[in-house]
């Protein structure tokens, strides 16, 4: 509950206590600490005084004198004094907050509590000042000081518990921020000096010893070690780091010692970017929350109207003003707009933090919301299902070829060097391995044909390197040249493709010279991850530019039944749209975030499989920091758990108010004959928002299911 402004006081509004890009002791954190200590003080005072009031009111409640209780404590004047102290000392911030809000035409939690408690206090005044006169008029002279004090104390207790729980919702971010050590050992003019991390500049060389945490992002220049990036990427296997490898700040160095050159500092580090992305996600709202927001705007004024109406109706029925006042107070103090307001943001806070813990960065709350309802998951092949590091496994000369291998290979490398295709890189690497240091001929008129291959002129020869499919189709329609494929090439290609190799044919001056088989085996856990996704009820589809046979062979290895092959990169987005148009529910795309950006953007949820060092993958809704396909399943499971949690929270908050308010208004009385004591109403309210936050905190215990054993 807790919409309680006031100095050093709680507030239900600040759902984001303690996150901030700066170190954990940010202003928000300090504010939460101050709020808690202020609340603790108020609560202690209220508990003590309310205890005295309740003891003093016992004889009155039981209707007989109790010798153990001193008479002065039971007197109406001391009850008035004690209750006033509780209201001013413990409830001061609530009353001043309500007043400030009133002047701004706003009504909130404070308005309800202050009015309810204030009215109970006011209603007891006549019985304190002139009890005899009231009795002479035939009116009851009852005191409700203990009601006012007990309600206020319960409200404070609820606020205290809620503020404490709220502090835990941003724990994940705080933990991430604490990953960065405060200092780094930097080489300066040949001497090692220990500097605050904020003083380290890009280009500095930093030494990391065994057991230490890497302070910033950089590139290893000397030494080697195994480092653990689990806290950042969720990937638990330690990674070997050698000169040339990238290291990220926050990773734990295990055994060896190494030096690295700092490349990114401050807000540019991976850690800072993760924190910023999580923070942004926490600042967004879900679709369902937009609805709840509409309700909260109207909520308090409507509750006040219901309370007044309850008073009027009960006065007309009973003629008893004091009784009617009790109904009025009950309605005011049972309503809890804060439970409604807290229901979604707290779940989102905890879930995005939990995601970050598992190496999953959700771009916004809507991504978190949509991922749970996905029906179809499209996986890019290269780099997603496979490791994305293709290698040439076969090099077959063809019968019609005339060139020597020693001439063909440098020519091949020279042309492929110009291409950015992953297969071309594999070819270049293969040639470098076969003929190290061989000179490369000059290349002219280089041209890449998307989804097909490349053409170029080398030493007067027309060179074409590309998929056999291209040649089968007879070259480009506008090239005016037909290249016949030989039965030999066809047969070899079929054989290689059946072994899940991509094939690259080399044609020089219209003659098929060679066929290369390039293999890119599936990731080790790909089959288990696909099985896990199917267990979640998702239809898994593979999308690739590769030839159909190669694609199907890979798909069979990992257990995917549906393959969309031979799709040019530019057409991937269109394929996603086609799947969306089939109306089988939301479609997700999983890709590397760079080549697949349009398809990721077209999908209802785009998952980018990151490299673990760069989260600047803007097109994606979810970024998987570890290059593990299993992360997609974890993201979907987390999303489902979050949605269930939000639904529970909203259901609870709505149901609580929808059921509680009529009961407090006495609607059940004609049927059951009992009325709700305002103190019970206060207790119910105090714990409704605590239970919402506590329920959201259950998400901290989220654990993804272990992957099934792949078939």
């Amino acid at each position: 509950m807790a919409h309680t402004p006031a100095h050093e006081q709680p507030g239900c509004c600040d759902t984001a206590a303690g996150d901030g890009i700066a170190p954990p002791s940010t202003a928000t954190d300090r504010e939460l600490a101050r709020e808690l200590s202020g609340l603790r003080r108020q609560l202690r005072l209220a508990l003590l005084l309310t205890g005295l009031i309740v003891v003093g009111s016992m004889p009155h409640m039981l209707g007989r004198p109790l010798p153990a209780i001193p008479g002065w404590l039971s007197s109406s004047w001391s009850q008035l004094l004690l209750a006033t102290l509780v209201l001013v000392g413990g409830g001061g911030p609530i009353f001043s907050g309500a007043w400030r809000a009133l002047l701004r035409h706003r009504a909130d939690m404070n308005t309800l509590v202050a009015t309810g408690v204030g009215i109970a206090w006011l209603a007891s005044l006549p019985a304190t000042v002139a009890p005899g006169w009231l009795r002479a008029q035939g009116l009851p002279a009852d005191l409700y000081y203990e009601t006012a004090a007990v309600i206020l104390t319960l409200v404070l207790l609820g606020q205290f518990l809620e503020a404490r729980a709220r502090g835990q919702t941003s724990e994940a971010i705080r933990r991430l921020l604490q990953l960065q050590p405060p200092t780094a050992r930097v080489q300066r003019q040949g001497v090692l000096v220990e500097l605050l991390v904020s003083r380290v500049a890009p280009g500095d060389t930093v030494l990391v010893r065994p057991g230490e945490t890497v302070p910033l992002d950089g590139e290893v220049v000397e030494g080697s070690s195994w480092v653990e990036e689990a806290m950042l990427t969720g990937e638990s296997t330690p990674v070997r780091k050698q000169p040339g490898d990238a290291v990220v700040g926050g990773a734990l160095n295990r055994s060896g010692s190494f030096s690295f050159r700092v490349t990114r500092v401050g807000q540019d580090t991976l850690l800072a970017q993760i924190v910023e992305l999580v923070r942004q996600a926490q600042s967004s709202r879900t679709r369902v929350q937009r609805l709840a927001d509409q309700v909260t705007a109207w909520f308090v004024p409507v509750v006040i109207a219901i309370a007044i109406a309850a008073f009027v109706v009960w006065f007309l029925v009973s003629g008893n003003g004091l009784l009617s006042t009790l109904f009025l107070v009950s309605v005011l103090v049972i309503a809890c707009p804060c439970a409604l307001g807290l229901a979604t943001p707290t779940s989102i806070m905890v879930a995005s933090g939990k995601g970050a813990e598992n190496g999953l960065i959700f771009r916004n709350a809507e991504a978190l919301e949509t991922a749970g309802g996905l029906r179809t998951l499209v996986l890019d092949k290269t780099g997603t299902i496979t490791r994305g590091r293709p290698e040439v496994s076969d090099f077959q000369r063809l019968g019609g070829g005339r060139l020597e291998a020693a001439a063909l290979l440098p020519l091949l490398a020279a042309v492929e060097e110009r291409s950015e295709h992953p297969l071309a890189e594999a070819v270049v690497a293969y040639v470098a391995e076969q003929l190290p240091g061989a000179p490369r001929p000059a290349v002219e008129e280089f041209e890449a044909v998307a989804g097909r291959g490349v053409t170029a002129r080398v030493e007067g020869q027309e060179v074409r390197i590309g998929t056999p499919r291209w040649f089968r189709q007879g070259g480009e329609p506008d090239s005016g040249e037909l290249v016949a494929t030989s039965p030999e090439l066809e047969a070899l290609a079929a054989e290689l493709e059946a072994r899940a190799c991509s094939t690259v044919a080399v044609v020089v001056d219209g003659r098929a010279e060679a066929l290369l088989g390039v293999s890119d085996p599936p990731r080790q856990e790909a089959a288990a991850a696909v099985a896990g996704l199917r267990r979640l009820g998702l239809a898994v589809v593979m999308l690739t530019g590769d030839g159909r046979r190669t694609a199907e062979a890979i798909a069979a290895q990992v257990g995917i039944e549906r393959v969309i092959a031979e799709v040019k990169p530019a057409d991937k987005a269109a394929e996603i749209r086609r799947l969306q148009d089939q109306g089988q529910g939301p479609v997700a795309m999983v890709g590397d975030g760079i080549n697949d950006a349009p398809a990721l953007a077209q999908a209802d949820v785009g998952f980018a499989i990151g490299t673990g060092t760069d989260v600047a993958i803007a097109a994606s809704d979810v970024t998987l920091l570890a290059a593990r396909l299993a992360g997609v399943g974890v993201a979907i499971e987390l999303s489902r758990a979050t949605l269930a949690n939000i639904r529970q929270n909203l259901f609870f908050a709505f149901a609580y108010n929808v059921a509680g308010i009529p009961i407090a208004a006495g609607l059940l009385f004609p049927f059951t004959g009992w009325l709700l004591n305002p103190m019970l109403a206060g207790a119910a309210m105090a714990f409704s928002s605590v239970s919402v936050v506590t329920n959201a905190l259950r998400l901290r215990r989220f654990r993804p299911h272990p992957l099934p054993v792949a078939r």
Binding site: T28, P93, R104, R106, G319, P337, G673
Partner: protein, 142 residues
Amino acid sequence: MTPMEVGDPAWRTIAQPAALKALVALAGLGLIALELWWFLGRHGETGTAAAEGGVQTVRITVQGGYAPERVRLRSGQPIRLVFHRLDPSSCVARVIVPDLQRSLDLPLNGEASIDLPPLDPGLYPFHCGMAMVRGELEVVSD
């Protein structure tokens, strides 16, 4: 703290003159109308932005709510919102512009500003972390 029974001392029917009952009913209705008008009617002043170096700049005071609560801005121009927080409540320690996924921590008795890109015409709400204290940016085309 048990539910009150009919036997509870508070439960007592008292005969009241019809005129008093009518008066209470009328006063109750009047109070409801007044309260709904006060809280739900449109009272907040609409603020406009001052142009400072090509940036539409709005100063918003935070005390018991946002003043101004509604700000009219022109589309296609960058925006700077400067919040001056006087309210000690930690409720308003954070302001969120959900549609733009931006949030800002507000220091007590200090100013903090948030820069927004040029926006398309439309309504962009901003609120505290729990969406109880609210304001709205109304972006209109030139």
